[in-house]
């Protein structure tokens, strides 16, 4: 049974933390204040409702192309953000809407980007997988490619000596990419302040971890890089583990690898029903026993940190916020055609771009 601290109660993570080349893991005592609890709840619930709204809009064909939803994994994004500073850096793969939100982009801008409107965070040009913000480097479509990028961000932190770290996320499917091992080697060699985090949601598209990986102990696959594995469905556990990892990196000891055991309710993307490679019973079981939002809500109520009415009020506010954002996202106009060729380069004088035929000369400004 878990207990949370209000003031001075102690907190125990539900599942034991597994360690690799580490003598000690994250602390088993942590403080959760009422403000923090409500904030985490609000953030997770907003993310959940935002993803469900995206699901709805996709089915109405207002969102098109790829749409990889994050519902079920909210505790990871919120816990990680709670464990680092806004001045730290974060990069992830394509299941990025949650992180885009925690890194400071409004729901309105995220949904407008998904619907391809000018009010979107990337002005409608990027889409679901290519959203960026300050110290948030996307949103990357090519599996595994974000990991060397993250190591590079960490190199820049070390180079500048600003005591910042970089959180580099990847999934269980990406864990078999060669470039990840290349990044591990260099990060360890040069002691880069990089927190590699593997979000293990048990399935890489339609392939379960047993069918894809010779070793499913993802936290050990950094070999010479110390690792730890924690329950990714409990936001406090994730927060404490992230703080622990960040402190490790900031102390100059080099990179660290963290595996978060989590689960996604939706299929790989909106074109995957998600039930051909796993059973509905499995999804239902996780939803009823380990849902991150329900778990936090139950514990806050049972520890008298919040009342049911308060939580319900927050839910109503969030629902309204999402509705307004969706309203904006569906009514905002599409980007103007004149801007088709803009932003090819950064900081360049205006140039001419060839259109579909030799007489079509389009303008591009930076």
């Amino acid at each position: 049974m878990s207990k949370y601290t209000i003031g001075h109660y102690s907190y125990q993570p539900q599942t034991k933390c597994e360690l690799h080349r580490l003598d000690q893991g994250p602390p088993t005592q942590a403080l959760l204040t009422r403000e923090q609890g409500l904030k985490y709840y609000r953030t997770m619930q907003t993310m959940r409702r935002m993803e469900l709204k995206a699901d709805q809009l996709y089915k109405q064909k207002i969102i098109r192309g790829f749409c990889h939803l994050y519902d079920g994994q909210e505790a990871c994004a919120v816990g990680i953000e709670a464990g680092i500073n806004p001045s730290d850096h974060l990069i992830t793969a394509y299941r990025a809407h949650g992180y885009t939100y925690t890194r400071g982009v409004s729901v309105k801008e995220i949904l407008a980007e998904l619907t391809g409107r000018r009010g979107g965070v990337a002005k409608g040009k990027g889409g679901s997988m290519h959203m960026y913000a300050k110290h948030f480097y996307g949103g990357n479509g090519i599996v595994g490619a974000q990991v060397p990028l993250g190591a590079g961000l960490a190199l820049a932190c070390q180079y500048k000596g600003n005591n910042e770290v970089c959180v580099t996320l990847y999934g269980d499917g990406a864990a078999n990419q060669g470039q990840i091992f290349e990044s591990f080697n260099m990060a360890a060699l040069w002691k880069l302040p990089c927190i590699f985090i593997c979000e293990n949601n048990k399935y890489g598209m339609g392939t379960s971890v047993e069918r894809a990986s010779a070793s499913t102990d993802y936290f050990k696959r950094g070999d010479f890089i110390p690792g730890l594995k924690v329950d990714g469905m409990d936001v406090l556990t994730v927060r404490e583990a992230t703080k622990f990892a960040a402190d490790y990196c900031r102390s100059g000891k080099g990179p660290i690898l963290m595996e978060l055991e989590t689960y996604r309710y939706h299929g790989h993307s909106m074109s995957d029903p998600g039930v051909s490679y796993r059973t509905r019973e499995e999804i239902q079981e996780v939803r009823s026993k380990s849902d991150p939002i329900s778990m936090l809500k139950d514990r806050m109520i049972s520890n008298n940190m919040a009342s049911l009415e308060e939580i319900k009020e927050i839910d109503v506010e969030i629902r309204k916020e999402i509705e307004e954002a969706a309203q904006f996202a569906t009514s905002d106009p599409e980007p103007p055609l004149e801007e088709l060729c803009n932003h090819i380069f950064y900081n360049e004088p205006p140039m001419e771009v060839r259109g579909t035929n030799p007489w079509s000369k389009l303008k591009s400004i930076s």
């Binding site: 990027g126 889409g127 290519h130 339609g206 060839r354």
Partner: protein
């Protein structure tokens, strides 16, 4: 009760419409009669005129009357009966009633080749138990099992290399990239390990491998998932590169690619997977192959030549239909193969029409159209051009996501029509 259309039943049992089959039989017999030596009674009967007066009323319809109409319908002349094989091919009635999607065509082609040759196997992400990310390999794992249909982890460089190694040892792998955008992760294996090896070993080591997957723009998948690699792969000696448009192309080219002893890159198109085309009975046969390196004239014309590959061929045909209403007849050439490029077919067409437009989805700089321009300029057809060659291409930008921007980033039918009118000075 299940409603099944006649066409479908005929299709599954491969039976033609009765009238068509009767016509074929008539023409076949006619050809046989003509090939016998002079004096054969059958020949004398054909031209026989009965003496005496005819009855009142409409003249009797005789065999030759019917056969003349038949020949017109099929498009043959009496002189052509001399060549038996050709005659038979031309009069053969195709029950063009079976519609096959490009996806099913690729699926059938792989199925038939897997059955035909034990050394053929398929590997890639989600190709087995998931039935293929785009369902192209549906049913194959169920039929052939783990040994022949292999699910790989997400390790393109690794599994592409593994496939090339297997090919070097004598197997005939089909390596699927979920999209060709991901082939960039493995491109070293495709070029350095597969394409160049036969040359480097002076013919000692063959690499009979097929790399296939969807290429080019899709719908709303943004910049990292929409690139066309025809120009990149078409640049490299040692590699064969094909780009099918319709179902017949897909079947024939994939089969040729699998049977070829060299590395072949098959650039499919995701938006074409669900499109159905009529496939002739010949096209459905298990040994139907389309030669690599030969383009096809999809539509003859006199005024301008449109050369294209993959999905854009459909756009060209649509543009040609619109222009035909205004009296402009476009000749549409489906390249089918990017490397080796069938310049002869293009040149022959340019000699006839004097105007050339290339249409592709990829970027303009160093693209397929640019290569065609250079080759035409270097060859005899240059003197027949009445205007410079025009390239219709994708816009020179990374693919944007928003629908209005994406639609304006690849050639539309109106762009082709505009270019045709410009080059014809209209």
């Amino acid at each position: 009760m299940d409603k099944i259309r006649n066409e479908q039943i005929r299709g599954t049992v491969k039976v033609e419409q009765f009238g068509d089959k009767a016509r074929e039989a008539r023409l076949r017999w006619f050809g046989r009669v003509l090939r016998r030596n002079r004096g054969y009674i059958g020949q004398r009967m054909l031209e026989m005129e009965l003496p005496g007066r005819r009855r009142r009323g409409r003249p009797q319809r005789r065999f030759m009357d019917v056969v003349k109409v038949d020949m017109e319908m099929v498009g043959v002349k009496v002189e052509e009966a001399v060549d038996r094989a050709r005659w038979r091919q031309m009069i053969h009635c195709d029950f063009q009633l079976l519609q096959v999607t490009v996806r099913d065509a690729l699926n059938q082609a792989m199925d038939e080749e897997l059955e035909r040759d034990e050394r053929v196997f398929l590997l890639g992400e989600e190709v087995a138990q998931y039935d293929g990310a785009y369902k192209v390999s549906r049913g194959l794992w169920k039929k052939y099992g783990d040994k022949r249909i292999i699910d790989t982890p997400i390790s393109e460089m690794g599994f592409a290399g593994i496939a090339v190694g297997a090919a070097m040892a004598g197997l005939r792998p089909i390596c699927e990239f979920m999209t060709f955008n991901f082939s960039m992760q493995a491109i070293d294996q495709v070029i350095n390990s597969a394409a160049k090896t036969c040359y480097m070993s002076a013919g000692l080591q063959a690499v009979p491998i097929v790399f296939r997957g969807p290429n080019g723009a899709s719908a709303g998948v943004a910049a990292q998932h929409s690139q066309c690699f025809a120009a990149w792969y078409g640049h490299c000696p040692g590699l064969k590169v094909v780009s099918p448009w319709n179902s017949e192309d897909a079947r024939g080219l994939l089969k040729s690619a699998i049977r070829d002893d060299n590395p072949v890159v098959v650039l499919e198109n995701e938006l074409m997977y669900g499109v159905a085309f009529e496939v002739s009975e010949q096209g459905l046969s298990k040994d139907f192959t389309i030669p690599i390196g030969k383009a096809k004239v999809e539509r003859p014309g006199n005024h301008v030549t449109l050369v294209s590959h993959s999905r854009m061929v459909g756009h060209c045909l649509d543009a040609a239909a619109v222009l035909a209403k205004e009296g402009i007849e476009c000749e549409v050439i489906n390249l089918r193969t990017i490397r080796p490029l069938d310049v002869e077919t293009i040149e022959a067409s340019v000699v006839k029409t004097n105007h050339l437009i290339t249409v592709e989805g990829g970027w303009p700089q160093f693209g397929v159209g640019a290569e065609i321009c250079a080759r035409i300029m270097e060859g005899p057809a240059f003197n027949y051009l009445d205007a410079p060659v025009i390239r219709v291409t994708g816009v020179d930008i990374p693919m944007p996501y928003a629908k209005i921007l994406e639609d304006n980033s690849t050639p539309q039918i109106k762009d082709i029509i505009f270019s045709v009118k410009k080059t014809l000075n209209m």
